[in-house]
Amino acid sequence: MAQIFPVWVNDIPKRLQLAIILVVTAIIFGFWYFGSPEYLEVGYAPEQPIPYSHSFHAGELGIDCQYCHGSAWNSAVAAIPSTETCMNCHEYIGLDLETTQPLLDSWESGDPIEWVRVHDIPDHAYFNHSIHINTGIGCATCHGRIDRMDVVMKKESMSMGWCLDCHNDPAPHLRPVEEVTNMAWEPPDDHNEFAQMMIEKRNIDAPVYCNTCHR
């Protein structure tokens, strides 16, 4: 009886093993990296109908977050300011800029400005701004240094895991309530004592059961 296979096929198994190992690891890590919200979400910075610069308004001019997004302090949503809010100033300044034109149009016509949503959590997750702010979670903690962004960009993955990380151990993210809008705030050296004190005093126990966010 003659040989069916040439001699070299005997090496195939070894090579195959190696190949399989490589491919599998590649796939796993591929998913791990490219499938992760960090990759998919972070860095999303769509162009807005008005090239509104936070770094100018919030940074240079130092307008406080509350001025435009005040509802975040007592409501679930941090609403986008109405055209009216903008017009409080822009009735007097920046009228000549063509960048403010859409604003004025909206003011004339009464049609809303169509901002593009940057921070969008799924509809089945209910996030409440007010409780976080009033417990001393800073704007920057989730939104990053808005005051340095010309175009608003998503800084955090805002995945469920990301939420849980903080809810499981909120201490590092707590800050004095009056500092929440302070973009530049850095935890002092004695932060841990402070955090513990807050947790004691305000009885902070960030819940992690489903109903906290899903209803």
Binding site: S75, S82, R117, C210
Partner: protein, 1006 residues
């Protein structure tokens, strides 16, 4: 909907996948930030938002669909996006206002609650009131003015009126639905002044005319009886379903429940006797119930009166009168009972019964000294002076005679509802011009010269009185979605030919009410939703001269001999009334309180009668097809309708509900049930005797939500007679032996595992349902549906047993089905077990227990194995077998309208996920967050701040909810009562929801 009459939300599955662009909405109402709608929305703006949000389907960036946010251009003050606002207003029904508070999210009315300040509603509501929010968002409502069927404009209509009514000699007939609005009354007077030949007729297919007439014949005035069931010890209802059909049912149920409250065994609950033909909701709550034909009610009343006349004064007119009932055991017992409770008993009779019955009832109440005590007779200014049933009759005669030039129909739908013998349709043809104001382009609109689309009470201003005379303003919370007008604007245009806003007209009226300092009073009224201490005057009543003669004639007319033929009784449907709510999916899908039938009306008959007709007296388990019977009245009118055996129904009697079988009105109303109005004649409004019934030889599928109606002697509902309860106060707990509790020594049965410790800083939620208070009306189901975005799934799916209601009311019969079985009602929401069987079997831990003790369901984690539902002993879990919500929210031409009705705080469930009662967790979360923000360190809301939707709506106040770790909370107090028990406690699932046993108060002499 003319173009697609057949199309219905629930039938066309193929519709499902199409509307891709609305995908997002199917998952949850519409973008949270689309806050444009607030100060009332014009559809143009509204559609812009939709348009914008629609964009997301198309445009996609590298990452995900682009979502647009549309902020306000001019944000209304006091409005914070994401925080609901509440406005006090009122709901008109048959001319009586119910005080309500309306919740709006960014300008969308989303929920209706009762107005706590209102003396009648006391913060409570009934099914129709809860469901009226859906009516607002009904796409099938008429959207524009039509002239001879073709579209036209309001301005043209006003112009037409200007021209048409410039000739004031016209013989104008105003045909209005019952209405108590002072503003309308003012306009009415203007009208009658302006047009000397005009007449005003109030038409309601089901009304209180014979009540008023009856009272008039003995008291000399048309007065409105107001019952105080909370003060009564003995109540006798003669075929009067005051818990369902009365205009005042919300406060009546509340008062009745109040009179039955059992805080301890020593309490004295009132006793209810009911004599009726149909097994009504009221009858199901009776301590003693007598099955007699409705035609036997008058003789029964007379016999009672004559029996009483031998014991007390004031009923001499009846003394000596005899009929077959005189030696009936009930008459004797009732007479004793009533005499023993003079001044704190009540006798009532069904509104549609003859004047003679109401005269007798009034006489009895007066003689018993109940008048002024438990029954008050109110002088109602806006009541018509004469019997409107007769007025309507003469109107039709004149119309046929061609002497009516123009008819102005305000809100009513006589073509559908008028007595068949009058043949209103023909009569209307003899009228030169017909103007019609209505919500839908309905049967009457189709044959009218002008149809004006009507604005709903949430859309325009109005005013009026409640049943007891509390004066309120109807305050709109949104601009008319379809640019409709309400009766005030309409009538004003007709009379004055001007386009006045209802707002101006109503304020004008109220200026007379508050001559000085109007604005502050006005604002107060708007804030409270009513004018404080406004109430009708109580008339002091006495038998007027000549009443005796009238009574004598009544007695002589009454037929002493009873026929043993089959008789037909026509009643308003408990849900759809006369059909005005027929296009309301929530009401259509709400199971009938007694028969548990949805989407249809049937011929209710007793088992004996069933056999007599040839219908099987008992339903085969799982059988949805029912025998259809042909009913022919002696006037030759006939119809075919499915027969339904209702144990406890009177023999040789058939009860039919009206309001079904409407054609081309809306996608919900069409092709549901059978129109029974054609059987109704002006002479026999309620009863038609000696009808012919035969099998039609075909069957018809009925969607009934409860297949089996016997308790099988299982200790699921626990009840006792008052005496048993006093002898053995803890009977409820002791009824079942709980292994391992050693006779209550241990709180819970032995368990393999040690008890779970839940964090102390969390509240522990729990609920009690007092079966002694619950009357089984089913409003909890609708309230829950409104609060929790529960879709309407349609007859086919309900028939398959896939109803989605989170809280259902189980109805069981016990005792002899052939004779007079007792009925028990039991609302069943999720029990939120501590050892929930559903949790352990879920392979992905989609349902788990929260730290505050809720059995939480994470929809988006659910993969849909249905194992949890299988393993739930209470079967309270509901599965999305199809993409119900999507079908519900994306069907029709303008799905975004129904989407506006959704509660933004509740996720809309996707196909293939399990769902169930959440104890209204959205309300809990809101309360906990607010508490934390206020106190800074606690997440335990004050007792009573969290109310579940069902609890809030319940007119009987049967449901308590709160923190059971707080020993003083109301719910804890309830749970500490001796009647408290847990359903299926022996399974050791430790439900958080427990029941309080029902106590009956029978008269041992019967």
């Amino acid at each position: 909907m003319g173009n697609q009459p057949q199309k219905t939300y629930w039938r066309s599955l193929n519709e499902l996948a199409q509307n891709e662009e609305y995908k997002k909405f199917a998952e949850r109402e519409f973008p949270e930030q689309a806050t444009e709608l607030t100060d009332g929305v014009s559809r143009r703006n509204f559609l812009q938002i939709m348009g914008a949000s629609v964009a997301l389907a198309g445009l996609t960036s590298c990452r995900k669909p682009v979502q647009k946010i549309l902020p306000y251009t001019r944000q209304p003050e006091h409005l914070v996006p994401g925080i609901p606002q509440y406005y006090a207003s009122s709901i008109p029904f048959r001319g009586n206002l119910a005080g309500v508070v309306i919740q709006t999210h960014e300008g969308r009315p989303t929920k209706i609650e009762g107005n706590e300040l209102h003396p009648e509603s006391k913060g409570r509501t009934n099914s129709q009131q809860q469901a009226s929010i859906l009516e607002l968002y009904d796409q099938d409502r008429s959207r524009n003015v039509r002239n001879n069927g073709s579209d036209n404009s309001w301005d043209n209509f006003v112009a037409f009126c200007n021209d048409h009514f410039s000739d004031t000699d016209r013989t104008v007939a105003f045909l209005s639905e019952a209405n108590s609005s002072p503003t309308l009354a003012r306009l009415r007077n203007d009208a009658l002044e302006r047009f000397p030949n005009a007449r005003w007729v109030t038409f309601e297919p089901f009304n209180n005319e014979s009540v008023y007439s009856g009272i008039e014949s003995v008291f000399g005035r048309r007065l409105r009886p107001l019952y105080h069931f909370d003060h009564t010890r003995i109540t006798l209802s003669l075929d009067d379903d005051f818990m369902q059909e009365s205009d005042n049912n919300v406060s009546y149920i509340g008062d009745f429940a109040e009179s039955r409250k059992m805080l301890s065994p020593d309490d004295e609950p009132s006793r209810l006797y009911v004599a009726e033909s149909n097994y009504s909701l009221t009858g199901s709550n009776a301590d003693h119930r007598l099955r007699i034909k409705s035609s036997e009610i008058p003789p029964f009343a007379f016999a009672l009166a004559s029996e009483l006349s031998r014991k007390i004064n004031g009923l001499d007119a009846y003394s000596g009168y005899t009929n077959a009932f005189n030696d009936h055991s009930w008459i004797r017992v009732l007479a004793e009972e009533l005499v023993a409770h003079q001044g704190n008993s009540i006798v009532t009779a069904g509104a549609e019964h003859d004047a003679s019955v109401h005269a007798t009832v009034a006489a009895i109440n007066l003689a018993l000294g109940n008048a002024g005590e438990t029954v008050e007779y109110l002088e109602v200014p806006h009541l018509d002076a004469t019997d409107q049933n007769e007025a309507f009759h003469t109107l039709v005669t004149d119309m046929n005679a061609g002497t009516i030039d123009t008819i102005v129909m305000i809100g009513t739908n006589p073509i559908f509802t008028a007595p068949a013998d009058l043949n209103f349709g023909e009569a209307l043809k003899n009228v030169g011009t017909q103007l019609h104001l209505s919500h839908y382009f309905d049967e009457t609109s189709k044959v009218s010269t002008w149809h004006v689309n009507r604005a709903q009470f949430l859309e325009t201003w109005g005013d009026g009185y409640s049943w007891s005379g509390v004066r309120s303003v109807i305050q709109p919370v949104i601009q008319p979605l379809f640019g409709g007008k309400n009766e005030i604007e309409f009538l004003n245009a007709v009379i004055h030919g001007t386009d006045e806003s209802a707002y101006a007209l109503v304020r004008e009226t109220w200026r007379n009410v508050f001559p000085d300092d109007f604005e502050s009073h006005w604002n107060r009224v708007l804030h409270d939703g009513l004018q404080t201490d406004s109430r009708f005057d109580v008339a002091d009543v006495y038998m007027v001269d000549g009443s005796a003669e009238i009574i004598t004639t009544y007695l002589n007319e009454s037929t002493a001999a009873f026929s043993d033929g089959i008789e037909l009784v026509l009643k308003p449907d408990p849900k759809l009334h006369d059909g005005r709510f027929a296009n309301n999916g929530w009401l259509q899908e709400l199971p009938d309180p007694m028969s548990k039938i949805t989407w249809d009306n049937v011929a209710l008959i007793s088992p004996n009668t069933a056999e007599q007709i040839g219908v099987p007296p008992a339903r085969k388990f799982g059988e949805t097809r029912q025998q259809v019977i042909r009913i022919q009245t002696n006037s030759g009118r006939q119809t075919e309708i499915a027969a339904w055996v209702l144990p406890g129904h009177a023999d040789r009697s058939i009860t039919l509900y009206t309001g079904y079988g409407r054609q081309q009105v809306g996608r919900v109303a069409d092709q549901t049930g059978v129109n029974t109005f054609p059987l109704r004649t002006s002479s026999n409004r309620l009863v038609q005797q000696n009808i012919e019934v035969s099998l039609a030889g075909r069957t018809y599928e009925i969607a009934c939500t409860q297949d089996h109606h016997s308790l099988e002697d299982r200790p699921i509902i626990r009840e006792a007679d008052l005496q048993q309860y006093r002898d053995h106060p803890t009977f409820a707990q002791d009824e079942v032996y709980i292994p391992g509790t050693h006779g209550g020594e241990r709180e819970h049965p032995l368990s393999l595992f040690s008890d779970k410790e839940l964090p102390a800083h969390e509240p522990q939620w729990g609920m009690t349902i007092d079966l002694n208070s619950c009357v089984g009306c089913g409003v909890c189901t609708i309230a829950c549906q409104a609060e929790n975005n529960i879709p309407v799934i349609g007859k086919r799916e309900v028939r398959r047993g896939r109803e989605m209601h989170w809280i259902r009311t189980d109805r069981y019969f016990s005792g002899n089905e052939r004779e007079n079985p007792k009925v028990m009602h039991q609302p069943v929401p999720c029990m939120h077990c501590d050892n929930a069987p559903c949790e352990q079997v879920c392979p992905v831990a989609a349902t788990t227990q929260s730290d505050d003790g809720l059995n939480q369901m994470a929809y988006n984690r659910c993969i849909g194995t249905r194992y949890c539902s299988n393993n739930c002993p209470y079967k309270v879990r509901r599965f999305n077998f199809f993409n119900y919500s999507k079908e519900y929210l994306t069907s029709g031409d303008d799905p975004e309208i129904i989407q506006m009705a959704m509660n933004p705080d509740v996720t809309i469930r996707f196909r293939g996920v399990m769902e169930k009662c959440t104890y209204c967790v959205q309300r809990i979360s809101r309360a906990k967050i607010e508490t934390k923000k206020d106190t800074g360190d606690s997440i335990k809301p004050k007792d009573g701040t969290v109310k579940t939707a069902c609890q809030q709506a319940c007119p009987a106040n049967a449901i308590q909810f709160g923190d059971i770790s707080d020993r003083d909370s109301r719910v804890s107090l309830e749970k500490s009562k001796d009647r408290n028990y847990m359903m299926l406690e022996e399974l050791n699932v430790r439900p958080r929801t427990s029941y309080l046993a029902k106590i009956r108060n029978p008269n041992l002499d019967i």
